[in-house]
Subunit: 587 residues, 2 copies
Amino acid sequence: MSTPDFPTDEIVRTIPNPSFLSTATSLLPALQTWVRRPVAIIKFVPDKTLFWGVRPVHSYPITSLPDLSWGKEDEFILDFGVHMVGRVSFTLDSAGEHMDAPCRLKVTLGESPMDVVMSMEDADVESTWIGKGWLPLEVVTVDECPEEVVVGGTGGGDGKGRRHAFRFLRVKVVDTSLKYKVVVKDVRCEVVSAIAPETKVGDPAFGEGERGKLLRRIDHVCVSTLRDCMQTVFEDGPRRDRRLWLGDLRLQALANYCTLKDYNLVKRCLYLFAAFPRNDGSIPACVFEMRGGQRVVESTDYIVDYDALFVATLCDYVEASGDRDAGRELWKTAEGGLGRALAHVDETVDMVNEENGKGWKFLDWEQGLEHSAGLHGVLVYCLKKARKLAGMLGLEGEGVTRDYEQEIERLSKGAKRFLSGSEEREDLVFISGPKKQISYASASWLVLADIFPEKTSRKVLRNTLKDGNAVRPLTPYLWHHVCEALASVGMTEESLEIIERYWGGMVKAGADTFWECFDEADAMRSPYGDVRINSFCHAWSCTPTYLLRGVLKGKVGGSDEGNEGDIAMGELDERWVKESLERIGKQ
Amino acid sequence: MSTPDFPTDEIVRTIPNPSFLSTATSLLPALQTWVRRPVAIIKFVPDKTLFWGVRPVHSYPITSLPDLSWGKEDEFILDFGVHMVGRVSFTLDSAGEHMDAPCRLKVTLGESPMDVVMSMEDADVESTWIGKGWLPLEVVTVDECPEEVVVGGTGGGDGKGRRHAFRFLRVKVVDTSLKYKVVVKDVRCEVVSAIAPETKVGDPAFGEGERGKLLRRIDHVCVSTLRDCMQTVFEDGPRRDRRLWLGDLRLQALANYCTLKDYNLVKRCLYLFAAFPRNDGSIPACVFEMRGGQRVVESTDYIVDYDALFVATLCDYVEASGDRDAGRELWKTAEGGLGRALAHVDETVDMVNEENGKGWKFLDWEQGLEHSAGLHGVLVYCLKKARKLAGMLGLEGEGVTRDYEQEIERLSKGAKRFLSGSEEREDLVFISGPKKQISYASASWLVLADIFPEKTSRKVLRNTLKDGNAVRPLTPYLWHHVCEALASVGMTEESLEIIERYWGGMVKAGADTFWECFDEADAMRSPYGDVRINSFCHAWSCTPTYLLRGVLKGKVGGSDEGNEGDIAMGELDERWVKESLERIGKQ
C-alpha cells in the first residue's frame, strides 16, 4: 500500500502563547491508577459465523496459571475481560532442573482477537505506511528467575515501562532450554485513566427487548471508549496514535458532557491548541504530549475542517460548562480557525471549492472523497456556532472581526448550488466537485449546517442513503455525522438503524471499545494497509452515547425507557467482565 | 540437528555444605566497571580470502555519529575495537518534524562478524538444541525521545539491564515514521570484570619476526579472554553459558597463575563446588550464580572427568598460592571427586572402560569420541595430583582414604594395554574401546598421565598426529591438552605449531578473544547446530598463555625473547583497539 498523498501545508510559523500553555499545564489531571488481572486463559478457535472468524474458548482455568509451565514455542492468551489502558507486569519463574539459559518471550498486547491470533512479527505485517513501531509486540529476555517483568520495560518515556491498550495478552515462549520451563504468574495491569473507577455515570436503559439491550450495550461501550481515551488529554486512541486531535476532541467533548462530565480536561485541550496558533491564525490539527504531559509539542499536521471546528468545540464547551471566561479568552483563536476554510470559498458563486485553498481536507478516510460540499457544510455549521458563541459571550460588535450574519446568509445561498435534482422527484441530492460526486459526507454536513428546509434535508438524506453509488463513510467519525444529521431532521429511526447496524455490528463482533475503522463486509479493512495496525479503542467512535442521551433521548421507544440512576465506572467494568465470561461460556 | 544423547546421571542427592558456601560468599569480588565507547562505524564487505568471508570497512567517521539520522530499515554497525563484557546504553533522539510514532530498533551484540552480518532473528537461526534466548538480539521500542536506552533494559536480574559480551553493536531501525528519523548517540558500554584496567600483567615478547609477533598476539588474546571471563566466578563464556564449569576452571586457574594472579577468585570457585557435594562424594560439573553472586545453585549437570579433575585444580591452587589451609579443608571433597571415575575401572584388566560406570564423559565435544583411554589418562593424572597434594599438605596417612601409590601403579600397568603396535615400528598408538579408536584425546591424556617413557609418548603422539583417521579435537579444551602433552615430552616445535595454527588461526580470523570452537576448514561449525549461538570468548581456549609463559618458556626461540615488564590491562586494551583500527584501514 502506498502512502496517501497528503496535501502539503504551506509554510506556517507557530507563534506560541505561553500564557495559554500555562493554563493548560495547570489543568493537567492527576491520573488515576488501579490494578486489573486476567480473568481467563483462552484460545481462539475457528468460527466462520463470527465477524473475526474465531471464537474464544477456555484453555485452562485461570486459577491454574501459577501451576502451568511453558516451554519452547508454547503459548497462551490471557483475557482480562475488558479493554484497558495501562502497564503490564508479571512474575516470571522457572520450573524444572534449573534455569541454565535466558528465557525469551514474545508478548503481544491485543485489542482485537486478530491481534493475538495473527502474528505481530513486523516481517509478517503487510506493507503499511505508518510506523511498525505501533505493533504491540514486546520481546522480553530474562536471564534469571524469579524476575519481575515489566512489559516494555524501557521506552515508556517516564521510567515506568511502556503503556499499552489491550484486553488480550498473548505470551509466546521463544525458548527456555532443555532443563527448564517458565511459569508466568501474578499478571497484572496497572490501569490508568483521568477517570477513576469511582466516577459515577448515568446508566440509562433504552427500552426492553433486543433493541433496548443492544442500545444499552452500545452506550456502555461508548463510555468505556471515552474513559480509556481520557488520559492527560483526550487521546484519539490510547494504542495508536495516542495524541490530541482537534476533530476527535470535539466529539469526545460532546460525549463527555452527557456522561463523565470532565469539563477541565476539555478546557485543558482547548488551551493546548490555543497555545500553538500560527502566523495565519490557523491552529495545528494535533498536539503531542510527552513525559506525562510535562512537555507539549505542536504537530505540523494541519486539517482545514478540524481547524474550523475549533469554534464549534469552544461553543459546545462554554454551553456545557458555563465557563464564559475561557470562551472570551479563546475567542480570537476560534475566529482564526475559520480563516483557512473561508479561503476555499469561490467568491463568484459563494461555494466552497476544495481546490481553492491549501491544506488537508479530511471529513473521512475514504479515498476519493470530494470535499467541497462537505467542507461547505462544515463552514456554515461553524459560522453558526461562532454566531452563537459570540452571543453567549455577549461579544456582539466587540472583538468580532466578521459579520457572521452576512457570511451565513451568503454561504447559505451558495449552498443551494450543491443541490441537484428536483424537490418533487426522487433524485434530489447534493453533488460535490466537477465529477458531481454524491456522498454521505456532503449530505450530512450540509444538513447539519441547517441551511435547507427539513423536508429538503430529509429527502436528500434518504436519497443518498439509498444510492448505491454514493460514497459511503469509512470511519465512525463520518458515520456519526450521518447519524446526527438524520436525527437533526427527525429521521430518528434511520439514525437508530445505523447505530444498531454499525456500532451494534462492532458490539456483536465483540468490541469492548469502539474502533477507529469498521467495515461490516471486511474484517481485514484498514486505512493503513494492515488491520493489525488499526486502533480498536478510538475516540471518534464514542458518539452514540451523545446521540442516545441527547437528540435521540426519549425517541428510542419502549415504555420503560428511562434513567436507571448512576453507576460507578468500576461497576460498569465488572458488569462487562461478567458478560465477557458468559460469552466465552463454560470451562 | 538433534539433541545430543547425554548419558543420564543416576539419582544423586546434594548435601550442601553451608560453611564452604559461606567461605565462597566472603570471597565475592567487588566487580570493576569502566566505560568504553565505539571507535568506528563500519560495515562488512565480502572478502573470500578471509576466514569469515567478510572484511570491515569504515562507513562513516565515528565522530559523525551524533549527526547521522536513521529511518525505516536503516542499519549500521559500531565497532568498539575490542571485545568486552558489559551493559550497553545510548541516547536515542529524534530528527525531523516530530516523533509521531514509537521507534523500534533491533540491537544485536556481536562477538564475531557473523553475529552482525547474519540475521539474529530466532526464526532464521537453524535448528539448535540450546536455548535461542542466548541469541544476543534485543528489541527496543521507544515512545518518546530523547530517551536513555538501556539495551536489554529488564531481565538482567539486578535491575541494571542485561549484561552482554561483544565487540560489535548492530543497530537496525525496524521503523520510525514518515515524520521523523532517529539519532543514536552517546553509545557507551559499562564494562565489567573482576579485573580492573589498572591491573598489571607481565608482557613478555616471544622473539622477533612473524612467529614472535603472532605468539605475542596469541598471548595477549589469551589474557583478554581470561579477563573477560573473570566475573563473580570464572565463567566459561561471558556471552554463553556464563557459568562456572569445573573443567574450564582448571584451565582458567592455570592461565591466571601466570598472568592476572587472582588467587581469591580461584579459591572462591573451589569452595563453590565444594559447597555442593553429593551423597556419593561427587560434585556437580557446574554451578549457577544469580543476583550478582548473591545466590548460588548447583547444576544437575555431571561430568566424570571434570569431577576427577577437582583434585588437580586444588593441587594447582595450593601450589600456586601456598594456601595449605584451603587445601586441607577441601581435601575430602577432592578425594570424593575421584570416586566416580575409579568406578569405571574394569578390575580384571585394570583399565577404564567408559561403559563400566554412569555419568557423562566429556574430554571434547567431538561426537563419536571413545572415552575409555582418555579417561584412564585423566584418572592416573588425577591420582598423581592427589598424591602430590597429600604430600604438600603433609597428609600422609592422616585423612587419606586411598593408597595412591598402589592405585597409580595398578592403573599404570593397566594403561599399557591401551598401547597397540610396536615400539620399533611406526604404528605405535593408543587404542580405545571395542572399535580400537585412535584419538588425540587418548594420546594426550595418557601422555599427560606420565606413565610411559618419553620416547614412547613422543612416538604415540607423533603417530597420532600424522594419522588422518585419528579422531581430532573439536574444542580448544582438547587442543590445549594435545599441546600440553606435546610440550611435556619435549615436542616443543609440534606444540608451538599447533598453537600458531589453531590459536593463531583464530587471531588471523580476527579474534579479540579465543573461541569456544574453531574449525579451520568450516567457519560455520558449531557444536549446537548454528554458529550464531557459539561463544567467541570462551575460557577453555585461554591456555596458550599458560604454555607460553610456562612449559614452553625460553623454548620459543629468538635471541631477544624475554619479559618486557608489566603492562596495565587497560593499556593492553588500547594497544588492541589501535591495532584493530589499523586493520580496518583508512576511512
